[in-house]
């Protein structure tokens, strides 16, 4: 089929990169909204590219609502949702989902629990029925609880050998202590051991309720039809959730450098950061731009320094984790053991630099803004992506025109604004560094950094 190889003698002019042309405007998803008598909000987006429908059920209650001493309860409850409904077992529930070819998932964060199911459009009604059986009418049986808790205890055991998981858990504890954000959703062994199935039933009764829930349907479906199906499936789900997470616990003051020893580790797992800012900050857009430049993309300062210049890592990144209460700013990287102290020094240097001696340049600002805005439409390609975007609106009470306003708002961010929000929300003296690594090899170098002797933490301390 292919012609004889020939090569053209006239070559294309490669002296300059082509300048991208304009892209036609993109209509952002339009969300239709209805609230059912029981308080459940039903949102739909018509998206008919493929004959699929995605249902996402957001409950505004997550691991931050765990009672003290019962850390992990919200996650166990989420895990128990698909363990049977009525007189059907977990296996029967999953066989029913498999008959629909469904992709089912539950996810839990600090502020929310999310259950989602994606199916071929012809199974929409059956999928919604299954989702309501799972979320609104779980069986919550004692024998299933015993098995699920045991599996989570095994999981905790295994996490102790995963350097990234150890680092995440230790870092949250250092930053937040007993604050609702101080533990990861899985909790800890002692709290899991202290729970019983009545705790789960009580948590479901007071937290997994329609008054704090939003059902988002995206697909080849009409709003009225979905509202009708949702009324049938969720109509008998009632009750109001009581209270959210209180955030008044005092934050601890951790040492500057902390190490969880991991003998003979070929790499050190690093977390550097401090408690920063909540999702409702008016500085949100400027912080997103600033973070893109600092550590939010491949060509960020941190990644270019630690990976592309020094070759110490496969990749480094930073993030402001925006939540309902102030979430952490965190720099995350795995570096070769011999480069640990150097990576800490460089990383802290970059954080201090962007808020002081090396403010963002005009080129960096233009690149950061362009990276965030020009490809924005790409985040709305699939039903699941649109569902995830809608979750943000529901979880953080964002306005209906949030997506339309995102690009123009980001384009208005100036370098002065970036400097101001970096200075306001990053505080180098407060930075906490946590390292999971080979203390025998890295200890002396860390001593030499001038942040005081590293505090050695027991792997069992969190």
């Amino acid at each position: 089929m292919s012609a004889a190889p020939t090569t053209r003698t006239i070559k294309v002019d490669r002296s300059q990169l082509p300048v991208p042309g304009p892209t036609r405007p993109f209509p952002f998803p339009h969300i239709e909204k209805t609230t059912l008598p029981n308080g459940l909000r039903v949102w739909t987006v018509h998206h008919a590219q493929v004959p699929l429908v995605s249902f996402t059920l957001l409950v505004r209650c997550g691991a931050a609502s765990d009672p003290a001493g019962k850390e992990g309860l919200a996650a166990v409850t989420a895990d128990m949702l698909d363990e049977g409904s009525g007189d059907r077992s977990a296996i029967e529930i999953h066989e029913a989902l498999a008959r629909l070819g469904a992709q089912f998932d539950t996810d839990i964060g600090s502020d929310a629990t999310v259950a989602s199911v994606t199916v071929l459009s012809r199974f929409a009604q059956r999928a919604l029925q299954a989702l309501s059986d799972i979320v609104a009418r779980p069986a919550l049986r004692e024998s299933d609880f015993a098995r699920v808790r045991q599996l989570r205890l095994h999981r905790l055991t295994q996490l102790r050998d995963m350097p990234g998981a150890v680092a995440d858990r230790a870092f949250l504890k250092l930053l937040y202590g007993s604050h609702p954000y101080g533990h990861s959703p899985i909790g800890n062994e002692a709290a899991l051991a202290a729970m019983d199935v009545d705790d789960v039933r009580a948590f479901h009764t007071r937290s997994i309720r329609p008054s704090v829930a939003t059902l988002i349907a995206v697909g080849d479906c009409a709003h009225d039809a979905i509202v009708g199906l949702a009324s049938e499936a969720f109509g008998d789900w009632t009750g109001a959730a009581d209270g959210g997470a209180g955030g008044d616990a005092a934050l601890p003051r951790a040492a500057a450098i902390n190490v969880v020893p991991r003998a003979r580790a070929p790499q050190s797992e690093l977390r550097i950061g401090h408690v920063a800012v909540a999702r409702d900050t008016p500085d949100y857009h400027a912080l997103v731009v600033a973070n893109t430049i600092l550590g939010g993309q491949f060509v960020s300062r941190i990644n270019l320094n630690l990976r592309e210049d020094k070759g110490l890592t496969y990749g480094a990144r930073t993030a402001f984790e925006f939540r309902r209460l102030p979430g952490p700013f965190v720099l995350q990287v795995s570096v070769q053991t011999s480069g640990t102290a150097r990576a800490v020094e460089e990383a802290i240097g970059e954080i201090a630099g962007i808020r002081g001696s090396r403010p963002v340049t005009a080129d960096e600002l233009a690149l950061g803004i362009a990276a965030l805005t020009r490809g924005y439409a790409r985040s709305f390609e699939t039903g699941e992506q649109i569902g995830r975007a809608a979750i943000q609106l529901a979880l953080y009470d964002l306005p209906d025109d949030y997506f339309e306003q995102f690009v123009p708002r980001v384009e208005r961010v100036t370098s002065d604004e970036v400097s101001r929000v970096m200075e306001r929300h990053l505080d180098p003296p407060r930075l906490v560094t946590l390292i999971v690594g080979d203390l025998d090899v890295i200890g002396q170098d860390l001593n030499g950094l001038g942040h005081g002797a590293p505090v050695v933490l027991s792997p069992d301390a969190f």
Partner: protein, 434 residues
């Protein structure tokens, strides 16, 4: 159901596939080179993947980082290497298509003049760190090295992992990079797919403008090396883990070959998800395992089925192994239920539909077109691919379980906590893996 497309071959042999989808103002540019770790030689492993890294370090007419202009245009981009192929992709706003083609064509045509020792040694350090992060410093992370090394003999191109051996990576010389590029990175060994908000005629003209001037290069002969397992190879090693884990692996049909789809469904119904037979028995009923999973990993010249289970505390891998082979024997004797076959069909239909949701990235429509074109020379294979799953019957599935999941020819790997070798499956020989 299919992915509509038009197809052209440029004068230099480059295959061009185009799919129009105007739902979102974006375009996926997806470029496959038919080269992977199977094209490496013993003693020189890890090379195809290391090379993938070098493709992001600049080319003659843009001798700076590859990411910056594209991210500045709003693109997302990445690449991956496996045993059989290397793919590169950008998803760009529709107006930046020409920029993406300029960039991809420059590194296809003009990489070597910009490739320096400094870039090379920096990216080798990055890859060594990728290896530490994803394999050496991860619990059970060395399992793939052990499984492939025992499934395939030392001179077989699937004997090693794509990330490569540390000693080999440290020994690579820059002149090998040049030779590798000349042999594999040229139009005759590549296929480009564009999917999204394009006008096909205009897009083809742009592809021809930027890629048409590149020399064709020599056609690359396919690699074909047979492999057989002589017996049950039983091995073990200690790792920094809390719970012992059993890996079973068998040689199976290649990608798209007879029996491949049946094995996909067979491994699913055995151990994929809570509705599977082994989940129910090992995790739900007997509670002797904390997790179980299985997959048919089909590659261009051979496949391997893999089944993995982690023992719950207080249980040995011997117990797990016994229970697994009872279930395999039951499936081999009685076949699946009608309900299991029906579930398999519906799940395949849904999985195929999920793949049609995106124009690009890993696994989107452009990647799918290239997969069919590079491996089968049939980019229109989508509906026939789905058909493979719709025609599976109880008896055809039973046949592959009998034929391939053979207790007498397999690799049985136990990874056990330090000092706890008694937990391993019996009669396992201790091996050293790095």
């Amino acid at each position: 159901m299919n992915i509509s497309f038009t197809q052209h071959t440029l004068g230099n042999g480059l295959d061009v596939l185009m799919h129009e989808d105007h739902a979102c103002p974006i375009v996926a540019v997806n470029l496959w080179y038919h080269v992977g770790s199977k094209n490496e030689q013993p003693g020189h492993t890890g090379f195809a993947h290391l090379f993938e890294h070098l493709m992001f370090e600049g080319s003659q007419h843009h001798d700076r980082g590859y990411f910056q202009p594209l991210q500045g245009a709003g693109a997302t981009l990445n690449a991956s290497t496996n045993a059989d192929r290397t793919n590169y992709w950008e998803v760009v706003p529709a107006g930046a298509l020409e920029l993406a083609l300029w960039m991809e064509s420059d590194r296809m045509g003009y990489l070597l003049p910009a490739l320096t020792d400094a870039k090379f040694s920096n990216q080798r350090d990055v890859v060594l760190n990728e290896r530490r992060q994803n394999y050496e410093n991860r619990p059970y992370g060395l399992a793939p090295m052990a499984l492939l090394a025992f499934l395939f003999p030392a001179d077989h191109p699937y004997h090693w992992t794509t990330i490569g051996e540390i000693a080999d990576l440290e020994a690579v010389k820059l002149d090998e990079v040049h030779a590798f590029f000349r042999r594999y990175y040229h139009p005759a060994n590549a296929s480009i797919a564009l999917a999204g908000d394009i006008d096909a005629d205009h897009a083809l003209a742009l592809v021809d403008q930027y890629f048409g001037e590149i020399d064709a290069g020599e056609r690359v002969d396919p690699v074909r090396v047979p492999a057989t397992l002589p017996r049950d190879l039983r091995i073990q090693f200690e790792d920094r883990v809390e719970l012992p884990r059993l890996y079973l692996a068998w040689l199976t049909p290649a990608m798209f070959a007879e029996g491949d789809a049946d094995l996909d469904l067979a491994t699913d119904l055995l151990a994929n998800g809570k509705a599977s037979r082994l989940y129910r028995r090992l995790v739900f009923d007997e509670r002797i395992a904390t997790d179980v999973s299985a997959s048919q990993n089909s590659r261009e010249m051979a496949g391997y089925a893999q089944l993995t289970a982690t023992a719950a505390p207080g249980h040995t891998l011997a117990e797990i192994e016994r229970a697994i082979f009872e279930e395999i024997a039951r499936l081999a004797a009685d076949g699946p239920t009608d309900e299991e076959i029906e579930r398999g069909r519906v799940q395949a239909e849904a999985q195929f539909m999920f793949r049609l949701q995106t124009v690009g990235g890993f696994g989107g429509k452009s990647d799918q077109l290239n997969a069919y074109n590079v491996f089968l020379k049939e980019p229109a294979y989508f509906d026939r691919d789905l058909e493979r799953y719709q025609v599976v019957t109880g008896s055809s599935l039973r046949q592959v379980v009998n034929g391939y999941l053979d207790p007498g020819r397999r690799v049985t790997l136990s990874i056990v906590p330090q000092g706890r070798t008694a937990l391993a499956a019996p009669d396992s020989e201790t091996v050293v893996v790095s």
